[in-house]
């Protein structure tokens, strides 16, 4: 087999290697390129030597152990590590790796993931409420009226008249306005803007920014007032403004003013979400006042305001359906030992104990989300207070087992779980619910 070839030597080497991989002997490969053989042969033999030089495979032990750890991180075999009685050395090693992996994931996410998206903020209540704190807009003095009077040197009567008009104008535009009135004004002005766009007219971005700013301020007012029907109507106004921004953005180059408007609309959304959450969510762990609800597995689910939580013996975990906790639209169950408490979605399964059992004798429990295989696994060591989770393969230390029991921060949580908002939201509520009383085992 021979062929005359003028291909570059790099290409000939590639073809020669492919022929070798296809089963030809080295000599047969080289015979195919007689005119280039002198140049090709040393390269070809060197390529084969390089393959052998780097053919070192990882040891079987490493491959097996690394695979186990890899699948552990991917969500499998967690039970083997924690549900039984693992060797102390393994537990320490796994813990170290988990912490390392969680830290690395968080760092990566902080580097790569864009700022948190809206759904997370809905649940980051603390931060939300800080963000929702209204900074009063600096009031603008009716300077134009004063300037007018000074410039023209009008009579005192004219000045009084001008001041009166200016004052009325000021009150009309900047003064306190009821939530309803502001909503109606915004609604009408947004309608005007939409009509203008429908008629092919241009809308100044300043107008859009002003509307979005006022919408955000209105949302902020709602967080400070008792529940108002406006809270339910405002999202529609926000959506309409987003439509306006989208239409105006599509017709020209990127306008920073429109970005500001979008930001303000997002803020309005966040503030509204905070309002809804505050109105809907009971504080985890607080007994409810609904004495009529009795369907929970334990009386502690429906405690009267003055009742104390049912005591839990050491070494036991009490599971209680929280019939009135509808956070995130889910049913929640409380797991409580003598010194540790947390809540988790009722649809999740506790792997210790029989189904429906409300008191489990165990010092550690595993809680699985309902999918098969579970997307989220939580391992709770009731003795040390260490709580570890695996969410979509991301290992997370929700609470470390140290004496001070540091909980995962909201930033670390979102960094680790990133864009999967559903898991982030659920996990955030679980973390928030973790409380410890008394001393934990070291």
């Amino acid at each position: 087999m021979s062929r005359i070839s003028r291909k570059p030597i790099e290409t000939l080497l590639e073809e020669c290697l492919q022929a070798y991989d296809a089963g030809l002997a080295p000599e047969e490969c080289l015979e195919a390129f007689p005119s280039a053989r002198a140049e090709l042969e040393p390269l070809f033999r060197q390529a084969l030597s390089l393959r052998v030089a780097y053919a070192q495979a990882p040891s079987d032990d490493f491959k097996r152990e690394a695979r186990e750890r890899f699948l552990f991180a991917a969500g499998r075999d967690v039970s083997a590590a924690f549900a039984g009685e693992p060797e102390a050395e393994f537990k320490l090693d796994a813990r170290r790796r988990l912490i390392y992996a969680a830290g690395a994931a968080a760092q990566d996410a902080l580097r790569d993931v864009p700022p948190p998206r809206l759904p997370f903020w809905i649940n980051a209540r603390r931060r939300l409420l800080e963000a929702a704190t209204v900074t009063p807009m600096p009031s603008r003095a009716p300077a134009f009226a004063i300037g007018l009077s000074l410039r023209t040197g009008l009579s005192a009567a004219v000045v009084v008249l001008a001041l009166t008009i200016a004052g009325l104008t000021y009150i009309g535009t900047n003064g306190p306005r009821s939530v309803d009135a502001e909503y109606n004004a915004l609604n009408a002005q947004i309608q005007d803007v939409q009509d203008q766009l429908d008629n092919g007219q241009q809308v100044k971005s300043e107008v859009i920014v002003d509307l979005s700013r006022r919408t955000s301020e209105l949302a902020a007012k709602l967080t400070e007032t008792e529940s108002s029907p406006i809270a339910a109507k405002l999202p529609e106004l926000i959506d309409r403004q987003r439509d306006v921004v989208a239409i105006v953005s599509s017709s020209g180059p990127l306008d920073p003013a429109l970005e500001q408007a979008t930001k303000q609309l997002n803020e309005a959304d966040i503030r509204l979400a905070a309002t809804r959450l505050d109105q809907e969510t009971p504080v985890p762990g607080e007994p409810t006042e609904d004495a009529s609800a009795t369907e929970g597995p334990s009386a502690s689910a429906t405690l009267a305001p003055t009742a104390r939580p049912q005591p839990v013996a050491k070494g036991q975990v009490l599971l209680t359906a929280l019939t009135n906790d509808k956070t995130l639209g889910l049913e929640w169950t409380e797991a409580r030992s003598s010194n540790l408490r947390l809540v988790f979605p009722s649809a999740w399964k506790v792997t210790r104990g029989e189904p429906g059992e409300t008191v489990i004798t165990a010092t550690s429990i595993r809680i699985d989300s309902p999918e098969s295989p579970p997307r989220t696994i939580i391992l709770v060591d009731m003795k040390t207070g260490e709580i570890i989770a695996l969410v979509n393969g991301h290992p997370l230390i929700l609470r470390d087992g140290e004496a001070d029991g540091k909980k995962i921060s909201a930033d670390d949580l979102i960094a680790a779980l990133g864009e999967d908002a559903t898991d982030t939201i659920t996990m955030f509520h679980i973390v928030e619910s973790i409380t410890v009383s008394g001393e934990l085992a070291p």
Binding site: P8, I9, E10, T11, L13, E14, D21, A38, E39, E41, P42, L43, R45, Q46, A47, S49, L50, R51, V52, A53, Y54, A55, Q56, A57, P58, F62, K63, A66, R67, R69, F70, L71, A73, A74, G75, R76, A101, A104, A105, D108, E371, P373, R375, N392, G393, H394
Partner: protein
């Protein structure tokens, strides 16, 4: 049922791999395990070739798979072949590792299983062959970074020219040229000790 596959050599072999990757992306742990099985040697060899130390290579290889796990949901099949994507992660991870920890020394001795691979029963010849391969690995470390990277991806990890190009964000011709230059330089580096290479070339 255990699914397994080999890293594909050509486009026609991609479909099974694609199915495995999509299954892994949807949370199928068996598929995730298959990805590990299919690529662990490739990743480990790359890490070992770059770091020259078994302990470091094991640490980094494990870390690379954790990174792969994190990035899997965002991996897009159409943009880059999986092996190239994985080796890009590997490349970045090795750099990060060296920056973070430095190197813990270099093992240049080849393990016995490689030495025996030549089916050579003459101990003297086997030893000579082993020393030549160890010298070759040392020589690779002396290559310029770009050439060394190509040589390692091509011959340690077994990537095709196309995948090497994707992994390094270069075009295929560029990879071929770098490989050729690297191999020429290796001949020069090896020549004083192994003059028969030069004789062969002549």
């Amino acid at each position: 049922m255990t699914r397994a596959f080999s890293p594909p050599e050509s486009g026609s072999d991609w479909e099974p791999q694609r199915q495995i990757i999509e299954a892994a992306q949807s949370g199928d742990l068996e598929a995730v395990g298959s990805l590990y099985d299919a690529h662990i040697n490739q990743v480990y060899r790359y890490a070992l070739a770059r770091l020259g130390n078994v302990q470091d290579a094991e640490d980094v290889a494990e870390e690379i798979f954790h990174k792969m796990l994190s990035g899997l949901p965002s991996y897009q099949w159409r943009k880059v072949p999986f092996a190239a994507w994985l080796m890009r992660i590997s490349h970045n991870e090795v750099i990060t590792f060296v920056r973070r920890k430095g190197r813990r020394g270099i093992d240049t001795e080849l393990p016995d299983d490689i030495i025996d691979r030549g089916n050579n029963i003459d101990p003297a010849e086997t030893t000579e062959r082993t020393m030549a391969l160890e010298d070759l690995r040392r020589a690779v470390k002396l290559l310029p970074e770009a050439q060394r990277e190509v040589i390692i991806l091509r011959f340690a990890s077994g990537l095709s020219v196309a995948d090497t190009a994707r992994a390094l964000s270069k075009n295929e011709n560029n990879v071929k040229v770098l490989q050729h230059k690297g191999m020429q330089r290796l001949q020069v580096l090896m020549q004083p000790k192994y003059p028969e290479l030069a004789q062969r070339q002549a």
